[in-house]
């Protein structure tokens, strides 16, 4: 009995994935992908990875969804691309992929009976740091260098997106997200939901220290709420040349780096925390990082500076 929901969930996930690949038009494929993201949140919950479930829901259902849908709307005027390969080639590639899937499954499931685990090492770190959520301990103490580099990747990607602006509008605002036709229900939604969403985002950040949640999940929720306001036309995206915006983008990672270097004389070395202050420092870092993540994610989805329509 307890296997039945899992079996159904796997069927739904694979069905959504097949739809994503096989759908006739681009937009249906994107919607299938959004549905897949929301279903995967349930899968992660079943694997007892609630932190990952929250991330997958926020990114797969929220951020990537809006990104791909806006791209769809803007690509409409462009051809659907060349015709795909012939029937024989399709079958051949399908067969190869199926064989590859079987091979991966065999490799993944035929592992050792007692798989290697780092859980005891994390458990030892939890006591030293004083946080309740093991995933946050890994992200910000045990493997903090990964998280620092991840933030640098985010900034690099944002710089990459911004650098695609045409020369004559360099530093200007991204294209307006406002829908072409005004809509009263949307305006109402964008007036009521963001305060609620803001509280939920802050809650996820704050809760991340001891229970599932964390900076990226909370930051993405904050970004989604800002984008909702922009979609309703109640705010316009800021100019990318604005100093405040650029400071906000680097604020969190900069604080992270400074606290990392301060570990050299306050604690044992780079990215380590002084005993007794670890929890305070990590929570402060999380707040700073979440602020920057919210701005980075929102600006990435808004896209590079664009010419205003004539």
């Amino acid at each position: 009995m307890s296997m039945l929901p899992d079996l159904l969930l796997v069927m739904l996930v694979l069905g959504a994935a097949l739809w994503t690949v096989a759908a006739r038009d681009r937009r249906s494929s994107v919607i299938g992908f959004i549905a897949l993201g929301l279903l995967l949140a349930l899968v992660w919950m079943r694997l007892y990875a609630v932190d990952v479930a929250l991330t997958e829901a926020a990114v797969g259902g929220g951020a990537t969804g809006l990104l791909l849908l806006r791209a769809c709307a803007r690509l409409d005027s462009i051809d659907a691309g060349k015709p795909s390969a012939g029937r024989t080639l399709q079958l051949l590639i399908g067969f190869c992929c199926a064989a590859m899937g079987v091979g991966i499954a065999a490799a993944a499931l035929g592992g050792p009976d007692l798989p290697p685990t780092l859980a005891p090492a994390v458990a030892a770190n939890i006591d030293a740091v004083g946080l309740g959520n093991p995933v946050t301990v890994v992200l910000l103490a045990y493997r903090a260098i990964d998280t620092l580099l991840e933030k640098i990747v985010l900034i690099a990607a944002l710089v990459g997106v911004w650098s695609l602006a045409p020369d004559d509008v360099w530093g200007g605002p991204p294209a307006s997200l406002k829908l072409a036709k005004a809509s009263e229900p949307l305006t109402f939604l964008a007036q009521i939901l963001p305060p609620v969403g803001f509280v939920i985002g802050v809650y996820l950040i704050w809760n991340g220290a001891d229970e599932p949640g964390g900076t990226f999940q909370g930051g993405t929720v904050l970004a989604a709420m800002w984008l909702l306001v922009m979609l309703a036309g109640l705010a316009e995206p800021p100019e990318t040349r604005r100093a405040l915006l650029q400071y906000l983008v680097v604020f969190g990672p900069a604080v992270f780096l400074i606290s990392g270097f301060s570990g050299f004389w306050l604690a044992e070395g780079f990215l380590s925390y002084p005993t007794g202050f670890a929890k305070t420092m990590i929570v402060a870092l999380e707040v700073a990082l979440a602020l920057s993540i919210a701005v980075i994610v929102a600006m990435m989805l808004a896209g590079p500076s664009a010419r205003t329509p004539r």
Partner: protein, 111 residues
């Protein structure tokens, strides 16, 4: 409990296979990105299965792979956003008559 991880392991392999199929057959760039994300999702799920099997020290799953997957999802999102921006810019350059003019031609026009 190992049955559940087996099931999700199969699910992950299926996602990877479907993703590779779509990635190798589709011609639209945007749909290729989606297929590539499917492959990534399948790989993350394999991490999740491994983490669940490696439950120890009072945890229901090993938290280290979870943290790696969260980092992976964030990096995959950043890469997707950058690629989508590249595709849109490329499409714009290919269709916009004003942008399509080569730099030399633009100079001649202004001269």
């Amino acid at each position: 409990m190992s049955d559940v991880t087996t099931l999700y392991g199969l699910c992950a392999s299926g996602l990877i296979a479907i993703g590779i199929y779509g990635f190798s057959l589709q011609s639209e760039p945007l749909r290729r990105i989606i297929s590539f994300n499917l492959i990534g999702t399948g790989v993350f799920l394999l991490f999740g299965v491994a983490a669940r099997r490696a439950a120890a020290a009072g945890f229901l799953a090993d938290p280290v792979p979870h943290a790696m997957v969260i980092t992976g999802i964030v990096v995959a999102f950043a890469a997707t956003a950058l690629t989508v921006a590249l595709i849109l810019r490329l499409a714009e350059l290919n269709t916009d008559p004003e942008e399509n003019i080569q730099p030399e031609a633009r100079d001649e026009k202004s001269a």
